[in-house]
Symmetry: C2
Subunit: 510 residues, 2 copies
Amino acid sequence: MSEHPLDPIFHPRGIAIVGLSSSPTARPTGFLAGLLDQGFDCERIYPVNPRASTIAGLRCYASVLDCPEPLDHVISIIPRAGAADLLAQCIERRVRSVHFFTAGFSEVGDPELAAAERAMVAQARAAGVRLVGPNCMGLYVPGAHVSWFSGAPREAGSVFALSQSGVNASAIVNGLVERGARFSKCISFGNAADVAAPELFDYAASDAETEAVVGYLESVRDGRALFEAVRRCARVKPTVLLKGGITDAGARAAQSHTGSLAGSAAVFAALCRQTGALQAESMEELLDLTVALTTQARRVRGRRTILIGIGGGFSVLSADAIARAGLDLPELPQHTQDALHEHVPAAGNSVRNPVDATFIDGPRQRVHDAALEILAEAPGFDAVIAAVDGPDAPPPDPPPVAGASGRRDRPEGVGGSELPATAPPPPVTAAAPPEPVPLVSAAFFGELQDRTGRPLLIVRRARDANRSNGFTVQAYRRGVAVFPSVPRAARAVAQLLAWHERRVGLPELT
Amino acid sequence: MSEHPLDPIFHPRGIAIVGLSSSPTARPTGFLAGLLDQGFDCERIYPVNPRASTIAGLRCYASVLDCPEPLDHVISIIPRAGAADLLAQCIERRVRSVHFFTAGFSEVGDPELAAAERAMVAQARAAGVRLVGPNCMGLYVPGAHVSWFSGAPREAGSVFALSQSGVNASAIVNGLVERGARFSKCISFGNAADVAAPELFDYAASDAETEAVVGYLESVRDGRALFEAVRRCARVKPTVLLKGGITDAGARAAQSHTGSLAGSAAVFAALCRQTGALQAESMEELLDLTVALTTQARRVRGRRTILIGIGGGFSVLSADAIARAGLDLPELPQHTQDALHEHVPAAGNSVRNPVDATFIDGPRQRVHDAALEILAEAPGFDAVIAAVDGPDAPPPDPPPVAGASGRRDRPEGVGGSELPATAPPPPVTAAAPPEPVPLVSAAFFGELQDRTGRPLLIVRRARDANRSNGFTVQAYRRGVAVFPSVPRAARAVAQLLAWHERRVGLPELT
């Protein structure tokens, strides 16, 4: 495959950081820390500061002209006043790209500063140097060992993220990483003076490492170019867009943030509708839609939903939320109800739909797994939303054994409910040794979803998730989508269904 | 004040628990653990089980007839088959109330079981014994040392919560406790066979310990009685209602949960509108509205809002969310912008509204406090929504000193931004000793709100909150409302404003 014009930006062989402080080195922070944290070859990281000989243990150079080969990419964190001179040096040195973290250009609202930005772009383009920014965080490309921050996974994935805002770029990365997703490339491109959204959508569409595309945009400088690029991209890859500055107040904020002149909400909604992209209305929705699109949840093709819940009132409110989202909760067929009754006590429970297949297990409740197996196989339904409680199985899960669930430490529990009736009263004392606690196992859900072909949407409330998000990440790897609430899971499914309906005639994205 | 008929239920002097397991005692769980955890006098807790002499170290009795004085309240966790006999014993013993955790009555959908429930109610009423439930968790009354679960605060507060669902009762208690609120009384009353919502609203309205009332309802058995009781309650105390079973799917769930025949969404919305109650559409909204109503946020009287944000793209999306909620973000007057400019660098920031008064502090950003002081005093605005980052100040905060903020460890920070421009580049290395980290202090916000009279709504994203919720709880005690996101804060304010408009002519709730 021939190299895309933007490809070098995402694969720099050597990087200079210009403007690093020369203060005594305790531990590196910022961009330098991001590169070291990702394992970028430290022989090819070139700190530039004329007043230091080493920074963070790395040899320091007086200017980009003094850096050794190879030097492909320059990160500028110097004040604006020096930006034009730095660009001239970069051109002389024939670098491939310059990322200006440096801000203070068109976003300030001063015509002279906007003109200075335009002049720099013209100069760079004439010399074949690409500009990222100004006023942005730049690159996170795990496969190239590049990151604008420490703590990002080194592991690469299939999501391409583009965001004008640095804060929102980080919100996308952090928010999706804890949901289990990993990235092919992320780019925060600020004022979009040179590298801008249309070219990035085209790059993502052609990038073999990218399977889904997610974008946060503020400006729409060339609406026609954006429309065409999003259409080309969304035709072949699931594409989620969030537009900031969609209200008057938001537009004012966007203008001072990235110098963007925001378009109207209606225009952007039409762009998404007509291009086959998915429109998110908030950062939460962007995360939820991306999770749904990159797991088996994307295969949901109808509204007939089963809800298996944590308990009475929780299920009532969840059923309301599912119905409000536009999904159906049809009553289960009698034979399914009969099968459930073998596992679920009648009183205080329902086996009609929603299903309350929970029992008190000390302070915890969990979905009764036998019930979940029955529901995943019930004919005529499109998806199962299952709210689960209880501690995670220890990650990583063991490799699945063919024909077995790979689960451990799961006693045969006696069915029970929040409110037992004819069942024996709950135990008042903890026996010694305590009964093993049932574990929520990603391997079980993954195996069940694979075997039945029925998309599972697991709801794991934030207070139940352990801090490592072990279950959520493991589930995602098994193709199982996990959401923090029933309303958010239901809304994501409803949005995907509407999107599928609009995409009739476009290639199927499987 | 004369005693309300329900008052004895909330202040039992002696409690029997019938149906406790006699298995060897390691540590108590369930209702017994709740009472012990609250410090209920263990000489007045009477386990009942004919096959045990002690349970959890407490003397055990063969029946309620054998328990010593005083015995006001009986908790039944026996199977349904024994419920009628137990009630007969309770009547003979002249207890004041029986709480049937025992389920399996009208919620099952069997006419005979519903008739059995009605017969028990008739029998109890004739004898002057009140029934709580069946099919519920019963009481959490910290002032009376009663709780259905361990870990609830012993500290009492001013919120009265009533919920047919036990799961949702716990969601209300846990959700509000971590937001800082404390309770006068909570009751989970399940099928509402005897003690039901209308009487509870009347009780709450007259209860001197209660300042706000929050309810989760499934059934509306006597719409007129409920309407009149809510109207009497909402007239004198802020009242928040959440109705489960408001869709067809939710209604089916509610019917099998508490045997409730749900009314339509429109009818319930009208009830809230006409009685002066606030309607929540989800558990999250119920929590947010209760926090807003029990802090100085309840004093917001107009839409002119100031947003002070964490950073560029975050502020853009937050401004969109505030505008969508129906609030205004008018541009700040020039003299306020000028005052802000002394503290906030121009580039990458806005001082118009929203205000991005943040700076990079290692990996953290925080609201610049000088800017917040200016904004809290800006004339012509109704509220300030401030998103804050950074670690909590150590709770508890010191008592405020008159004329001083009571804050500690707050260096004079140099203004900065997510994306500095003409400002010096961010430090690359951590100097030794590290610069003291600015702390997010509840005392500062409380003092500022008290001094200026301007309601502050603090937004603290979940990932920033420490696990003890120290800041959130301390802020609540200072009358400062804390929300987990800008959209939720904005929505709560908008709902309160609509509620105020509807309440014209009713008593002012200050």
